[in-house]
């Protein structure tokens, strides 16, 4: 279907099913039960899963295929968000022009940065992109946000005010980002017995976009262009010696992944019309690297899984506090209860980074191919196949 082979078609169908049924899959526990804490099926988090999935898919086109490790991808996401919010401020709350512009602006911006950074490779390339991203962050945070010339509104974040022009905004349209009148915030809540499931318009917009860009990513991975990028990763020097100029290919990959990041940024602004400078900070750039490596570099579905994994920890584990723990362990005798809570305390709440760090270490040490490799091993084990050799074609480390 759609020019894909059988295996890729089924992968696309799996992704489609997962995203469309996410409200059910992510809310397995009845509302009001003790386990409801672990439900992730509320609109904001589902949107984040998908948006960061898009971000990581795009990053993987650069990192997974060419091996160029960019530490500045958050800058493109931020630029996309700012452009989208400016469309909201100046023209209309309709999300389509905002998302379109965010992709275009991020594409141009990545062309500029890529043109300079790609003159070097390896660690020098990483440092260059990191430097550019931190420059963009400083610009957004401070330089471009003084009271005289306020492009980004600094720490507060760019947002839409009632007195903004919004030339194409009409009465009767929602005062929030919308798609031809359908507010991104409108949610249909389905109550089934003790369970409740949220179907959010904004989430489904993101989900459709994810399926489209996932399809695009498959086509890129399977194209001659994708093959050329893989060649860059395996031995760029040799390619150059054969008289082939690889830079147009790497630059194209860089711009494509920058546009994916811009798309993610535009969607973020469309779901919540505020763009903060922190989303351009180096920690945000590092996060997408983690997502890709955690899920499985160079695989198609890995980055999406990694993004979901990290966002789940950030939003669910960070909200478990001592009160919740005491609730869980109330059945233990008093002294024991306090002891158990004290042991677990550093790993939950604001300590979620610690838990994530430990899991990341475990994955990198025991599953170098990321969660995807874990899945493959599990499948082989279930089918009773003997251990296959490392799937080296997909998981070799980046240089």
């Amino acid at each position: 279907m759609l020019g894909l082979n059988k295996k890729d078609t089924s992968l696309l169908l799996v992704v489609a099913a997962l995203t469309l049924l996410a409200p059910f899959i992510l809310n397995p526990f009845p509302e009001g039960s003790a386990m409801a804490q672990f439900n992730a099926g509320y609109p904001d988090l589902m949107q984040r899963f998908v948006i960061f999935g898009i971000f990581a898919i795009g990053f993987n086109i650069l990192f997974g295929l060419t091996g160029y490790l960019s530490f500045g991808h958050a800058a493109f996401l931020g630029v996309g968000s700012y452009s989208a919010v400016w469309i909201f401020k100046l023209f209309t709350y309709n999300v389509l022009p905002a998302i379109a512009l965010s992709v275009v602006v991020a594409g141009l911006f990545s062309l500029l940065i890529g043109f300079v950074s790609l003159r070097r490779s390896g660690i020098y390339f990483s440092i260059l992109t990191l430097a550019f991203a931190q420059m963009s962050f400083a610009l957004a945070y401070s330089v471009l946000s003084n009271p005289r010339f306020n492009l980004t509104n600094g720490e507060t974040g760019l947002q839409v005010y009632a007195d903004d022009p919004q030339w194409f905004h009409r009465d009767g349209l929602p005062d929030l980002p919308h798609l031809f009148g359908l507010s991104m915030r409108s949610t249909y809540r389905l109550d089934l017995g003790a369970w409740s499931f949220d179907f959010n318009a904004g989430y489904y917009l993101c989900a459709v976009v994810l399926m489209v860009v996932f399809y695009l990513a498959i086509r890129i991975f399977r194209s001659p262009f994708g093959m050329m990028l893989r060649a860059v990763k395996s031995n760029q020097q040799r390619m150059n010696y054969t008289g082939l100029n690889s830079r147009p290919y790497t630059l194209a990959a860089f711009v494509i992944s920058g546009m994916y990041a811009g798309l993610a940024g535009g969607l973020m602004a469309a779901m919540d019309p505020l763009a903060g400078a922190e989303r351009m900070q180096w920690t945000a750039s590092g996060e997408v690297v983690l997502m890709t490596i955690l899920g499985g570099t160079g695989t198609l579905i890995g980055p999406v899984l990694g993004a979901g994994f990290i966002k789940y920890f950030e939003n669910i584990f960070s909200k478990i506090n001592d009160n919740v723990l005491h609730g869980w362990f109330a059945f233990l005798p008093d002294g024991m209860e306090d002891f158990v809570v004290a042991i677990i305390h550093p790993f939950i709440g604001k300590g979620w980074h610690l838990t994530l760090g430990l899991l990341f270490m475990l994955v990198v040490i025991f599953l170098p191919g990321g969660l995807v490799e874990g899945g493959q091993r599990l499948r082989n084990w279930v089918r009773g196949k003997p251990k296959t050799e490392n799937t080296s074609g997909k998981t070799e480390p980046a240089e």
Partner: protein
């Protein structure tokens, strides 16, 4: 390996699939049946406490959380009732709010707008919070206030001192009990004039976000009206931890006053750096070099230790106040946690009581009803004397304290002494004050 043929049939098929995908979300446009966002239907009601638990304002956030837990205990009839006994409105009975038991969820704002909004959104969407409160940074407060306006829940601002929160960024669903930089400026100016004279040269270090700009602007307006000259004003990023490179230029700038428009961990570090560079022992043309911290808190004074002695600033509330409300609060807070509350804890506790009281008086959790009950509400007994929630901008008007770092502290909590209680009449300003211009409350939004 690849298949790039584009046939008419394939284009049609792709188009049909894409069209179906785009049409799918329109099935789900129906709204929920609730009358307003997160209408509590069971026997309990959930409030969302969104405070910084990490980064520069973590100390304030931790104290705010303690105050919220105390307020919830008191609302549910536990403890000794604290300020509920001294509050001029007697609508609260200690049986929860409107008979519903108060429960709460907490979140970490990380003092970042994005993270704070994500946390507040999950409280609203996942936990069903009907009111969000907290924040220890004006940037965050403004971002979350905007979100609450869109989502249709009440936002009771915690510690936020920028003029913009109830100025150009004010929202119909947002309310602020804390004072602002305009009030700080007008309360501090007479004290500065009396102590330091009329011909000082000031150097500003300013936290680079909405609160810092607002604070710098207010202090400049008032001190320049006295006759002071502003030598320079330098912006410092909020995440800065070492201010040496910002302090060094002060030494040779010819300034004889340093104004630190910093709060929390920022102020602790910048003041410590300033003292290390010998600014406090410095003489400029025969006069002592002075440092001013326009917004002070006890937590900051404790963090900065010895260095705060003799330094002037303003504060919203201090635990050594002797009125019945303050004493009741200090007593129940002290009994629960073993030390006196900070101003951040006070304003958060008071905001929670004010919200609960407004719900009781309105008889509904509907944000529009609550807003109506809070607008123009006159009250007393919550530690700041007679106070008004002004209807036009949702700002509280009350006395402001001017404080000074104590020369001879008697305990680790007794770090600030009250120099003057500036009466409410002196710090009041018109709704159309130029520093507050450009905002619009808009209409209250009940969501749904």
């Amino acid at each position: 390996m690849s298949n790039n043929d584009v046939t008419r049939r394939r284009v049609l098929k792709t188009g049909a699939v894409a069209g179906a995908g785009l049409a799918l979300p329109t099935i789900f446009t129906a709204q929920s049946v609730r009358a307003f966002t997160n209408e509590p239907t069971g026997s309990s009601v959930k409030l969302g406490f969104n405070v910084p638990q990490t980064n520069a304002y973590a100390d304030e956030g931790a104290d705010e959380l303690r105050a919220y837990e105390l307020a919830v205990e008191h609302l549910n009839g536990g403890g000794d009732g604290g300020m509920m006994n001294t509050f001029s409105s007697k609508a609260l009975k200690g049986n929860g709010i409107l008979g519903k038991k108060v429960e709460f969820v907490t979140g970490d704002t990380q003092t970042k707008s994005d993270a704070a909004r994500a946390s507040a959104k999950s409280m609203i969407e996942k936990d069903g919070a009907v009111m969000i409160t907290g924040g220890s940074s004006s940037g965050v407060a403004i971002a979350v206030q905007g979100l609450c306006q869109d989502a249709g829940v009440i936002f009771m601002a915690g510690l936020t001192h920028s003029n913009d929160t109830t100025g150009k960024d004010k929202k119909a669903n947002g309310f602020r009990h804390f004072f602002n930089t305009e009030m700080s400026g007008s309360a501090l100016a007479p004290i500065l004039e009396a102590n330091y004279g009329k011909d000082r040269r000031a150097y500003h270090l300013t936290a680079d976000y909405t609160w810092g700009w607002s604070q710098e602007n207010s202090i400049r307006n008032y001190t320049e009206a006295l006759g002071w000259e502003t030598v320079n004003a330098v912006k410092t990023p909020l995440a800065t931890t070492d201010f040496s490179s910002y302090i060094a230029p002060v030494l040779n700038s010819g300034a004889d006053v340093l104004v630190l428009n910093h709060y929390g961990g920022n102020m602790v570090n910048s003041l410590t750096n300033a003292v290390q560079f010998g600014l406090r022992d410095k003489q400029v043309e025969g006069r002592n070099f002075e440092i001013i911290v326009p917004l002070y808190s006890r937590l900051m004074a404790r963090g900065a230790g010895e260095n705060v002695k003799g330094i002037f600033g303003s504060t919203n509330w201090h635990w050594s106040l002797s009125d019945a409300g303050s004493q009741a609060f200090v007593k129940s807070f002290g009994e629960k946690y073993g030390f006196p509350p900070s101003q951040a804890a006070h304003t958060c506790y008071v905001q929670t009581l004010l919200y609960a009281d407004a719900v009781e008086r309105a008889g509904t959790f509907n944000p529009c009803g609550v807003a109506e009950a809070l607008e123009g509400f006159d009250f007393d007994g919550l530690g700041n004397g007679p106070t008004l929630y002004r209807a036009e901008d949702h700002q509280c008007f009350k006395d402001v304290l001017v404080v000074k770092g104590k020369e001879n502290p008697t305990s680790e909590f007794d770090l600030l002494e009250i120099v003057e209680v500036t009466p409410r009449a002196q710090v009041e300003y018109a709704v159309d004050h130029p520093d507050f211009a450009g905002g619009d409350l808009g209409q209250c939004n009940p969501g749904a």
